[in-house]
Symmetry: C2
């Protein structure tokens, strides 16, 4: 069975877990805190990042969430999440990259640093200016998601796909950390309410990061 | 015919150009300076980043270098660059991500900011401390490439692949900007000398960025 090295607020592990859930692939959760830079973990992944997926019985070791998702698409036929024409598939991958890099860099990463790493590692208070900038960036980025959902049923196109999973991963971690003001983002909120009901997402929404509580509406499907 | 929006020192455009070259796909170079945030360019790509690949005659618009490379792999059979078993392909994609993100963030991006953006946009001198940190990170990262090439013919495995193209893209921009001390990196230097002779790479090495000269050994195959 696959072992997935992750921690509850890792957005890239969430993307992989959503894909595993949609495809019905079983896995065992292995808790890893990459900021501790544990020797055994660095030997598996020199980049020191979660997620890492291992299947010791088959001597398989996968890392980097993009590589892992493409691997699962290639090896598990059920519930394909990169669909349509080559151009459709490029559009899905463009948006996955946008959430993984642009949204993460501008919104998720600073929130994780200020509200999780500073609490756990530095025992310091968050920087209000950094939080404000991240939440302002979140508004601009959700405006773009609203725009996409004005023209499409799902974020990447006509069907549920990896762009939705990547979006739900980043947005849910941001929401957990109180970084999203849902007012004025009705299209994205409607999409997210629907996504929250998916069986692949429910277990993630019920997990908690030690010492950090989400807002009361966080796992409410009718927020 | 494809139009590729890029500038000479964009490492992600270089990766795409190397892939187009290996596959023998023709394209027209369109010069774009993303730091100018030109309206027409932002309308094509809201993320404001190069490369963008357009084929107006087929109404096709592709962006994000990962999505573009996967598109080319899916649509052009010649010279496949993501090869082997699903695990081999995951290893290629892991290393592409590592060069695109880790190497870029630690080495190429700070060098581009200090030696190109500051000169062109801010008319300011580079920060010696930032340059020193980037060059120190380059040494650590090339140590890792040396380690990979101790065990493999090419960076991603037994055959030339997208990991080599991603590596040559980041390393060549870093080398142009004087960021690489080749001493002590014999394995990587041997691989890079071989790669420099490839017809896909020669045209890139002969281009210059206005006002920024590379070191004398930059396009020498016997450096």
């Amino acid at each position: 069975m696959w072992q997935l090295y992750q921690f509850p607020l890792c957005p890239f592990s969430r993307k992989v877990r959503l894909l595993l859930g949609e495809k019905g692939v079983g896995y065992e959760l292995m808790r890893e805190s990459p900021w501790e830079r544990r020797d055994g973990f660095l030997q598996m992944n020199p980049a020191g990042q979660t997620p890492v997926m291992a299947d010791p019985s088959r001597n398989l070791l996968l890392m980097d969430s993009t590589a892992i998702c493409e691997y699962l698409e290639e090896t598990v036929d059920h519930a394909s999440m990169i669909n349509g024409t080559a151009a459709n598939r490029a559009e899905t991958r463009r948006l996955v990259s946008w959430f993984d890099h642009q949204f993460y860099q501008d919104v998720t990463a600073p929130l994780l640093h200020e509200r999780m790493i500073k609490r756990i590692v530095h025992r310091a208070a968050p920087d209000a200016r950094v939080l404000r900038d991240a939440m302002k960036a979140a508004i601009g980025h959700l405006d773009y998601v609203d725009f996409l959902l004005d023209h499409r049923t799902w974020i990447g196109g006509a069907t549920l796909g990896l762009a939705d999973l990547a979006a739900a991963a980043q947005i849910s971690v941001t929401d957990y950390l109180g970084g999203i003001d849902w007012q004025g983002h009705e299209q994205t909120a409607r999409w997210y309410r629907g996504f929250k009901s998916r069986p692949s997402f429910r277990p993630l929404l019920n997990e908690r990061m030690d010492g950090i509580a989400p807002p009361s509406y966080y796992n409410d499907v009718d927020f």
